[in-house]
């Protein structure tokens, strides 16, 4: 039993690692595309703040994730299948260069495995309702905040003539905004893995229902996501950093600040959101300050399709991954 639990924890941490690997692009795309940092410097910067996030955020998101399925219904095999489904979906979309959300993949995977284990009634409707609403709301918040920040910056500095000096200031500002975004990314995404491990420990009677997340879980989840970021995936950098809209340092700073504000807010409220879609929304928001045609809607549309398909895709993969375990004893 202990070996099984240790193996599943390892798979959960691998998912977290892959989450960092997959989403590294979100944290660093704008810094790299505006040439504020080299790719190598940017991943190190993001990874450090991914790890440091454990000092700031609590574990409310982890509690939400551990409660999306009625406690006790997910077996070890179910949790394993959920993780496998989410990882497979992440790998497929990474190969295709699609900026999908690892968070949505995990939520879809958990649902697929839970339904395969004990039917639809195992899903906690209120938790899924909250997650679904914020799947739609988080990019909208990103768009609106980024647009507002960008317009505010234009309004404040439009009479300022020393463009070179101004750009230097925005480049420095981008370092701060990228750090804030990476903190939010680490805070929200690492907690999803913590939630899975928490559910696993509760399911096996190693922790009582309603227990806090143990410190070793918190630290290992943050370390895994930071390591994943360090080895970051480059395919998505291109889509996020230059394909949606062309970014200047000021735009990068506003997009990251807006996404960071949104993610910090939802993380403190305990809502798991997609950091990918929040920053994609923020980049669109920056693009719309020029004109709507400055946004390449075809690329943005591809992001939306990936967004719509992630939960059903991961659901199906987790459901299939659970099939070999059906009928086996926990």
């Amino acid at each position: 039993m202990t070996i099984t639990i240790a193996l599943i924890v390892l798979v959960a941490l691998s998912f977290d690692f892959f989450n960092g690997f997959h989403d590294a692009a979100n944290s660093i795309a704008t810094v790299v595309s505006t040439r504020v940092l080299t790719p190598r410097q940017a991943v190190a910067w993001a990874a450090f703040f991914n790890f440091a996030a454990f000092l700031i955020f609590g574990t409310k998101v982890a509690d939400t994730i551990s409660n999306v399925v009625h406690p006790g219904t997910l077996t070890n095999a179910g949790i394993f299948a959920a993780l496998v489904g989410a990882i497979l979906w992440d790998i497929v979309t990474w190969i295709l260069g699609l900026p999908t959300s690892s968070s949505h993949a995990l939520v879809g995977g958990l649902a697929g495995a839970a339904v395969a284990t004990a039917g639809w009634e195992t899903l906690v409707a209120s938790e899924y309702q909250k997650i679904f609403v914020f799947i739609v709301l988080s990019p909208i918040v990103g768009i609106l905040l980024a647009f507002t920040f960008m317009t505010g910056v234009f309004w404040l500095f439009h009479r300022y003539r020393k463009v070179e000096k101004l750009n230097r200031g925005f480049r420095r500002g981008q370092l701060v905004s990228a750090a804030a975004f990476s903190l939010g990314h680490g805070g929200n995404d690492a907690q999803k893995t913590m939630g899975v491990i928490l559910a696993l420990l509760i399911a096996n009677g190693l922790l009582a229902k309603g227990s806090d997340v143990p410190l070793w879980v918190v630290l290992s989840a943050h370390a895994a996501i930071a390591l994943g970021t360090l080895f970051g995936g480059w395919r998505i950098v291109h889509t996020m950093g230059s394909k949606i809209t062309k970014l200047q340092p000021v735009g990068g700073m506003c997009a990251e600040s807006a996404a960071a504000t949104a993610i910090w807010g939802v993380t403190l409220a305990g809502i798991p959101v997609s950091t990918t879609h929040t920053i994609a929304g923020a980049i669109v928001g920056v693009g719309t300050t020029q004109r709507l045609s400055a946004v390449r809607w075809g690329v943005a549309g591809r992001v939306v399709w990936a967004w719509v398909l992630t939960i059903p895709g991961a659901f199906v993969m987790a459901w299939i991954a659970y099939l070999p375990f059906k009928g086996l004893v926990r």
Binding site: L144, G265, I271
Partner: protein, 67 residues
């Protein structure tokens, strides 16, 4: 009233936030409401700007016609 696509985009987002009020748990309604208000503010500002700009363009033409 002919407005730019950008104005309608913000009105659309405001409406979306309000439509999402129904499934949103009451505890988080402030997010929907503040975003709907922000979006509506941008819609109104763009609409006013466009209407005023159009009037400004129309006025000199009328004067030329008077002569």
């Amino acid at each position: 009233m002919r407005l730019s696509r950008r104005s309608w985009f913000f009105l659309g987002m405001s409406v979306t936030c309000l439509v999402l009020l129904a499934p949103t748990p009451e505890k988080y309604w402030w997010v929907n409401l503040s975003m709907a208000a922000l979006s509506l503010m941008w819609f109104v500002l763009f609409a006013v700007e466009e209407i005023l700009a159009r009037r400004g363009e129309d006025r000199p033409r009328a004067r030329r016609g008077d002569r």
